[in-house]
């Protein structure tokens, strides 16, 4: 019985070791190319926040708490939101209306050609990954109020 659990744990851990970097890189790619392929801020942010779920599945509750700092995630979410509002008021400062694209270059199809939308993608992606990561940590930590999982982790 004990041998079964150790084998299952090591299978999940080695799979997670391979998929975790791939998931993170895919998330950053989706955020970066938001104006050229399907994706954008919200979708890439959700992919990166899935990293918390992968770490929880493979390593357990204690690893999640030691890797991610929940209090700082809450602060980062507000920084992302303030960044979005600031980029929107850039349009007001330049003399047009709210959310105007004022940094636009000329050739469509290249990576840095969409102006304000590029930075807005980053701000939204940052907010989403911080917010969803914090949410997953909170919901998971509610599961472990009882101690029946404690003995299984220490084996």
């Amino acid at each position: 019985m004990k041998k079964n659990i150790i084998i299952k744990n090591s299978i999940i851990k080695s799979c997670a070791n391979i998929t975790l970097p791939i998931a993170l890189i895919l998330g950053i790619y989706v955020i970066l190319h938001g104006h050229l392929s399907p994706g954008g801020g919200f979708q890439g942010g959700v992919l990166i926040a899935g990293a918390v779920a992968i770490v929880f599945t493979a390593y357990g509750y204690k690893e999640v708490l030691s890797l991610f700092n929940a209090e700082r995630a809450k602060t980062f979410e507000d920084i992302g939101a303030l960044g979005y509002v600031f980029l929107g008021t850039l349009g007001l400062i330049y003399g047009y209306t709210f959310c105007t694209n004022v940094l636009w270059h000329s050739t469509p199809g290249k990576l840095y050609s969409s102006g304000t939308i590029f930075w807005m993608n980053f701000a939204v992606g940052y907010k989403v990954l911080a917010g969803l990561g914090f949410l997953i940590i909170m919901l998971v930590s509610n599961l472990y109020q009882t101690s029946e999982y404690e003995d299984e982790e220490e084996k």
Binding site: P38, F42, P108
Partner: protein
Amino acid sequence: MLLNYIGSFLIIILGLYITIVKKNLIKIVIGMSLMDSGINLLLISIGFRQGGTAPIFMSDLKPGAFFVDPVPQALTLTSIVIGACVTALALSLVIKIKAHYGSIDADKVRRLNG
């Protein structure tokens, strides 16, 4: 194309049925989420045009290209986000109800009545 519309209305009605009949609080939350999925499917099917390609701004764009309608796709993104937030909020309320009342049966969570 007609299959999409029939399927989405079936999913909406199924979600409503679960919310009305089932008594377990978590099943009610699942019913709400199912209704949101049905509405998203209906929204995407409205924007379809026969023979159009995906509405992506590529570098070799010729004038006269035929896209499908991009507006419902933006609306669907917003609707998916809202559905995820509703599910998260409802589930955290269910956790708190279990801590107070001791059960998650809708017939027992009725102290505010009359």
